[in-house]
Subunit: 698 residues, 2 copies
């Protein structure tokens, strides 16, 4: 995949220039300087040679097949060039030129035209409006970046070209190497999904994939591809600039709670993409994955020559759920035999300030040999007795070939430069402060959990989809988008969720009669497609105990609905059996423009809005994801039961999530939905939908 | 204060050695090398000269007055040396020697002996068991650190000596300078409080004070001193190693929720100490305070030559509550006139990748001149057109003398070294990534808010403390620590909090009679000093509607209590008016061993434990702090009123916090207390204590 772009046998640079101040010259020179081994053809209208290469007036006149064309000509000319490339059998394009979508409607049209040409000829294209691409395996630098990175096993894609230059500059000094380095530009053709898929097939060269993304075009594809790739190669992303696109006016609870940020978070979570909170973290995590084996578990040993940093690391570890390993008696005995009596032989292993490399050797070896240790963090503070570079060399020796990751935090800077170089050269990730090392190990543990997670189980319940389809067609044909309560009940029922018994009354007398049939007490509610929050207008009455009360309630509810809106269509008043008390939760759905249906779960009633204690998952939701979603809210102990209360029927709540997931996956026209409250009874007793709202696409 | 230690006119080094491998030699040499201008007297039993200075066999034989003695002799000898110093009129000691409290009981005794000597002679002492001290104003390096820091305006104290060496090493390479640098050691005499107080008086030299602390000895004094100092000088601390000391077994809700971590957090919050979450952050924040004027408000402008980093910075700013300034039309016009049409003249100001220094000049000046901008973050990514050092020089020029802080994020490393030096030399803090710059500005905003906060208002209510004192005396004399419900009610009443009417019944008949008097329905509860969680044993009955039910309830409750424990003392059954429904909250107290009484506020009932949504403040609590505490819980919207509900009587809840604060301040013997629930009615209707537990010191 994308070989024509990353491993072309020949390259044409269209817009190559003899003028050294021009980008077209710079790019040609970059290709040359990086040592690209294939054929290079400058294309220029007049020049006969550029940088020693014979130049051609057009791609079509190049006498040999061209795999990749790098295009750096004015935007308006680009479609013609692409057309010529297509005719000449070029397979890949990197379009550096700007002046497309990013400059407005005309540019957008030009970009559409360009994409059409690319697709017509079956080419693939990076850009337009990008810095270019670098592949250190091919030794290809088809970019105008000022620096060529060290070779390495980190693949990096960025939606910001400037960030690329900054990262190259920074990584060069840090000794961080890359396999591929791509500026995505406008992502007209090749986007983050294409690259993920392509890079995901090359585990040998890409040990970790990094992405800086400002927007994700095709959320579904992203999740689907990322889910597969992340099982093989860790993917770490920064997603910035949560756009306002997702934050459209929302009338339901769930709509108001959800937002682009939650959808993106859920997408990353469900597809195993690790999210970095800062650029620093992105590379801190990357180093650990690129240099070290994946952590086998979450039990950490710390070796340190100073108490303070050991405490700092321990605190940081506990904060993110890394456990300090309990060392075996054998390990402690080995340490005790070799270390001075003032040393601490339990974890953190404190080898004391006067430690020379030999103590580091003993302690690191003992820790790595301990079967209950999964990873070791080695801390070093400069002390008079020990040369940092000797300690570094010792760590490199002992760690070599270990199946457990070893990371270090050599603290300082002035006197440890040589030590840092030794560590980096031997693929030991070093972090200036212990907290950063801990965070990187934490990311490794998350990746480990993801890799070991059993395959997702998707269930399909036996439901009556036809009934729902017919109902939606009818609602649509009436020009409505919001379902009435009776209609919503019908949908809920068709998808196998339990409802309280309920009938529509259209007069006070009928209400009394139905209530008597259902058995007192009953609940009565206004039934109108135009009244959304029924209780806000006094349209809901609880605990109606006899026939007279039912008649009164009918009249009062109808009066209030009329007062609220003369225009509202009133279908009558719903009389419902009053359900037993249980724990009230909410299951809701909103639709994210990028990632599709987003399912919310939280405490119901007024708590959902006040506490904003809601967990989100994208549909379709797997069995495990539903279980995790229910457990992800802070208030989960209320469902598990506190202070001697019996546990709630958590399985029933999970099943409602799964049925709702199936419903909104079957019917993409559902844009918002609230089940609030869902009353969850004690374990084994199920859950009942008390109220549901469904809104279809307008 | 502490002049004898930080600005001594003369120094004796007791344990100075002619042997260059000895610490005593190293320290003397460090004093010499740093250029200390006062008199230096090595003390050594045999040598006549060390490093060219005449040596003396004891401090007492030094022919001139000695202000400071640096002691580096075996621990067992230290008391004798200190005694000699006292006799010789020495005023300050820095005891480097280890072998005291940190090695066990014998060392602890030795340390007590040493402290007694120090106090008897009115000396002050740093250490023992420390790296020493550095004062760049005096040019004093009384430490065995391998490096002497750049002079600067950051004062640093650390409870870890190794961390001192690491920080010195690191800061040297970063160009970060210090005014004072102290290894606290065992803090036998001078501790964090002493240093805070001393450094807080020298604003000219200490623009910011940093502390790495593992424990705080005297919490009360720390809070009192920090409160004053932080109004003048920002204090940033890392507190690590939350000890288990505070996490003693706790039987009450509040005890289980509180912990050393919460107490420390509250202490820092209430005293204006900024807490850094990592070593990196500690110095990131310090640079901003040391180099730049305090931010006047929270409106930020961003100037960038690249879109991506601008978005990253914007995201980070929004996440921590920094506002992106709305630029005035005049500012935007000025920018439009000077920048190319592709530039963005609204905030973030994007001066585009081909920006040379002139555009940085225009944009930074315009942003600083805008009256609605409080601070400017300048972002730079390396681009072919601009030399980083020219951009740096331009920023330095424009920012010079500005009353608004300017910080930068020059991203990269390989090509920007010279630019970073220029920025650092001219006191522009630079951060490798934009998120760190934003975090530092956020710390500045927090400091600004703290400085501008009006003085705390402490109220004292008119209460009946005598009645409580008498009651506690009685409880104590009976050998009890837990108050019975009636006793707790008495305390609550004496401190002016409202209770439901309630009387103790000692027979079924009496219960029926009392209930009739109070008016049905009533609540009945077991009254026993030995039954803590009454409802857990079925010892509480609600909604008792008539005399027969009251009689039945009495018998049932008594039966259950007996079944629960034959030994429990049962005083009877409390009959209580059933109070109206309201919003239930908890006000609780636990006592932190370091910081004293810690007041908890949260939602009451089962929510307090399940959601752990609790805010803590140390007593005494001021009016503002009580108001903030109530608003600090996530569930505060439930009190303010959601979905058309009227607001609760928040003022009444605050008043209960203040009265409880007064109570636990008046009576240090209260170690735990729960008011749960406190029923808060609608605004203007007050709040009622439904249940209270009080536990005294055993």
């Amino acid at each position: 995949m994308l070989e024509a772009i990353f491993a072309p046998r020949s390259i044409a640079v269209v817009g190559a220039s003899p003028d050294p101040t021009k980008l077209g010259h710079r790019i040609l020179k970059n290709i040359l300087d990086a040592g690209y081994p294939g054929r290079i053809f400058p294309v220029h209208p007049g020049a006969s040679h550029i940088l020693g290469f014979p130049a051609y007036p057009s791609v079509e006149q190049v006498p040999e097949p061209v795999d990749l064309a790098v295009i750096v000509v004015p935007a308006t000319v680009v479609p013609n060039v692409a057309e010529a490339c297509g005719r000449a059998g070029v397979k890949g394009l990197v379009v550096i030129s700007a002046g497309f979508k990013e400059v407005g409607p005309e540019g957008r049209a030009l970009e559409m035209q360009l994409l059409e040409i690319v697709q017509r000829y079956g080419m693939r294209m990076i850009g337009p409006n990008c810095l270019g691409i670098i592949d250190t395996i091919t030794r290809l630098n088809a970019s105008f970046a000022a620096l060529y990175p060290h070779p390495g096993q980190i693949a990096f894609m960025s939606q910001s070209g400037a960030l690329c230059t900054a990262i190259l500059d920074w990584s060069k000094a840090q000794g961080i190497g890359f396999s591929r380095f791509v500026s995505l530009g406008n992502k007209a053709d090749v986007d983050e999904v294409t690259l993920l898929e392509a890079w995901g097939c090359d585990q040998a060269n890409n040990r970790v994939i990094l992405a800086y993304l400002e927007g994700i075009g095709n959320g579904d594809a992203f999740v689907a591809v990322a889910r597969r790739v992340t099982k093989r190669i860790p993917v770490i992303a920064i997603k910035s600039g949560a756009t306002q696109a997702g934050a459209r006016a929302a009338s339901s609870h769930t709509g108001a709670l959800a937002g682009a940020e939650h959808a993106c978070e859920a997408a990353f979570d469900q597809s195993g993409v690790l999210r970095a909170r800062s650029m620093q973290e992105l590379f801190d995590f990357a180093m650990a994955f690129a240099y070290q084996p994946l952590i086998p578990g979450n039990r950490l040993a710390i070796v340190t020559n100073a108490g303070g940093p050991g405490i700092i690391a321990t605190d940081a570890a506990e904060r993110i759920g890394l456990h300090l390993a309990e060392l075996t008696p054998a390990t402690m005995a080995a340490l005790r035999a070799a270390l001075p009596s003032t040393a601490s032989v339990s974890n953190p292993i404190d080898i004391i300030g006067d430690a020379r490399p030999d103590r580091y050797r003993v302690a690191l070896r003992a820790a790595l040999d301990d079967p209950y240790v999964d990873a070791v963090l080695v801390l070093f503070t400069p002390q008079a007795v020990s040369k940092p570079e000797d300690v570094a060399r010792t760590i490199v020796e002992v760690a070599a070939g270990s199946a457990k990751p070893v990371v270090t935090s050599f603290m300082g800077a002035a006197t440890i430069g040589e030590a840092l170089r030794i560590l980096n050269d031997h693929r030991i990730p070093n972090y200036a402060f212990p907290e950063r090392a801990i965070a990187a190990l934490g990311a490794m543990v998350a990746q480990r959990h993801w890799v070991e997670r059993p395959p997702e189980e998707y269930v399909r319940f036996d439901v009556d989809a036809e009934r729902v389809r017919a109902l939606f067609t009818r609602v649509c044909s009436e020009g409505r988008v919001e379902l009435g309560e009776l209609e919503a009940r019908e949908v809920i029922e068709a998808y196998g969720m339990r409802l309280p018994k309920s009938l529509l009354a259209q007069s006070p007398e009928e209400a009394a009669e139905i209530a008597a049939r259902l058995g007192f007490p009953v609940v009565m509610k206004i039934s109108s497609p135009d009244i959304l929050h029924k209780s806000d207008i006094g349209g809901v009455k609880l605990g109606i105990g006899d026939s007279a009360a039912a008649r009164d309630a009918y009249e009062l509810i109808e009066y209030r609905a009329r007062k609220y809106s003369r225009e509202a269509r009133i279908w009558g008043v719903l009389v419902q059996e009053q359900v037993r008390k249980g724990r009230e939760v909410l299951v809701g759905v909103s639709r994210d423009p990028q990632f599709g249906p987003l399912i919310a779960f939280g405490l119901g009633g007024i708590y959902v809005e006040a506490l904003r204690d809601v967990a989100f998952r994208l549909a379709p939701v797997s069995r495990q994801e539903a279980a995790e979603q229910v457990r992800a809210i802070r208030a989960f102990p209320l469902l598990r039961g506190v202070r001697g209360e019996p546990p709630a029927d958590i399985a029933a709540a999970e099943e409602v999530i799964l049925r709702v997931s199936q419903l909104v996956t079957d019917f993409p026209e559902i844009v918002e939905m609230d089940i609030n409250p869902l009353v969850v009874y004690n374990r084994g007793e199920g859950a009942t939908v008390l109220d549901a709202r469904i809104i279809l696409r307008g």
